[in-house]
């Protein structure tokens, strides 16, 4: 139609009518109904044949929550040898309200973790990242949504999990990635994560969980290319109240974007076993 207009085949009055009516349609479509201010146009999200939102795709967060899930200033990284490439950029945190409600003992443990992070951070050793950390690492992850269950394949350490959607399954055993049970609340996939083994951290700053930690995640497509992510975290052994994180997953849209392989074990062997090598 625009091409048609440019070529001046369309009479002027008709052109005005087209422009005005198009503008009106755009305006009315964008206007929230029932006075709500939600920017979500749910009709435009990809859906499965049964009408559920389809989360399938390659996703990644932006930001620096993987350094510290709380608001943080720029600061030196743990290894001065890496210069600017190893430094920690400033960033807005993803913790709602800004603070993690640690008990005094847990707050002290977090500081200790931070001081010893080179020895203690499971990410440095290529251990599975756990939930929710896997979701906001500086790597993409692939969601594969079937007519029932939903698989997550994370690039970092080839870690993965399957969200069981259907009859609730108790965690058979504690694991790094936990046991994920999902259900749909309207257009939101709610995932209950239990059976976490407590060895995972939330970030590179020593924020931690235990084997009592219970995570409930919420995945909602804001539009075709954004997932609004929320997780509530409960653990009365280290937090004084439940708390929440929220961030956004962006769809990787490069023409050739795909999940790559990051098998980091071999990048850690010198670090982990180096002292046991034959001299």
């Amino acid at each position: 139609m625009l091409e048609f207009m440019k070529r001046k085949v369309m009479p002027y009055r008709l052109r005005v009518w087209v422009v005005v009516s198009t503008a009106l349609i755009v305006l009315f479509t964008a206007m929230p109904s029932n006075g709500q201010t939600s920017p979500t146009t749910t009709s435009q999200i990809p859906r499965m044949p049964d009408g559920k939102p389809n989360l399938t795709g390659l996703w990644q967060t932006l930001g620096t929550a993987y350094w510290d899930i709380r608001d943080h200033s720029a600061q030196p990284g743990p290894l001065f040898q890496l210069g600017a490439t190893g430094a920690m950029p400033a960033g807005q945190g993803i913790v709602e309200g800004g603070e993690i409600p640690y008990t005094p003992a847990a707050a002290a443990k977090q500081k200790e973790n931070l001081q010893n992070r080179m020895a203690l951070d499971p990410e440095i050793r290529c251990y599975m990242p756990g939930i929710p950390r896997a979701n906001y690492m500086p790597f993409p992850f692939q969601i594969i949504q079937s007519q029932r269950d939903v698989a997550f394949a994370y690039e970092y350490a080839s870690s993965n999990r399957v969200v069981n959607v259907g009859k609730f399954r108790e965690a058979a055993v504690d694991t790094w990635m936990g046991t994920s049970n999902g259900h749909w609340e309207g257009d939101t996939l709610v995932v209950d994560v239990s059976g976490l083994n407590g060895n995972s951290w939330f970030d590179r700053s020593g924020n931690f969980q235990t084997d009592n930690t219970h995570v409930v995640e919420r995945f909602t497509l804001g539009d075709a290319d954004h997932i609004n992510y929320e997780a509530s975290i409960e653990d009365e052994t280290i937090y004084t109240r439940p708390w929440k994180i929220s961030t956004v997953f962006y769809r990787r849209k490069e023409k050739n974007a795909q999940l790559n392989e990051f098998k980091c074990v071999e990048f850690t062997e010198e670090l982990i076993y180096g002292h046991l090598k034959k001299k």
Partner: protein, 348 residues
Amino acid sequence: MGHRPAVSIAPMVILAVLAGMFALAAESAIAQADKGAPVAKNWTPPKTPWGDPDLQGTWTSDDCIGTPLNRPANLGETLYYSKQELAQRESQLAKQQQNDLQEFVAPDQRVGTGPPSHWAERARRPCKQTSLVVDPLNGRTPDLLPEAQTRRIPEGANNDNPKADSWEDFSYYIRCISRGVTGSIFPVIYGNGQQILQAPGYVTILQEMVHEARVIPVDGRPHASPRIRSYMGDPRGHWDGDTLVVETTNFLGNRTGIGLNGGGTPTSDALKLIERYTRTGSSEIEYEVTIDDPKTFTRPFKVAFPLTQEPGYQNFEYACHEGNYAMSNSLSGARAQEKAAAEAAKKK
């Protein structure tokens, strides 16, 4: 079929058809090995709601546990066991299952350091094949090219040979890095689970051991740049009727081999795998892989075996590297032995 006479005749017709099918089964088994997987006649392969063939579920290659990759030379070109041999193997399995139920070792028995027998996973029914290799006809991996014969095989170190000087003396499996594509599906003593999940445009295969997740696009996109190489390669799938065909390239060279758990002579960066997954019944997939590595083998060859879905079978998290105490212990053991030997030499 609303009329009574038709209903009463139907079972007889079905019985007759079934009898005929059984009579033909033995003869057709061999012919079908070449023609591809036999699909049950009274069964329609399921489709996903978006219209792709539905292969979803958790599958295992357990039934061919213990079947050698290469056929013993004395069996020549016999791919399938005879009825009699199968019956024999079935009774062996039953005996094994009985042994596995034993909770405590009998008081007069010697106890070794090996795991108890119930520790391993078991075949539920006898594997019909004498080898996993089905082509060439002798059921054996083709000869290695001269250039491949000199490739170092990280055997997995023991006390003496090879010595555990470094983690690099161990296989990529023992190091908890990867078993490669074929090593992750060929049947071994445990952890043979393959959970298949599909989405529009994707098939994913989640493999229990060393926690692999193969994300396979089935949307016709081209392979990734040949500069991007990996242990598990770059898979691309398409549907050939109801069969999932997966072509995988872009492998790192000189890592894992085609042996069990990715052992054996490491393959090259020219390796190309073509896998075929055909659902032949509600709980069986016929799996087939053509292995083509023009820098390693004198010719392409084919491995095939069934995958089955078993009640209650599920994948568990296999945190291999996270719990790899064997590596620290093997290395520190070797260093302790060296120290003891050096001290003994000093005393002499």
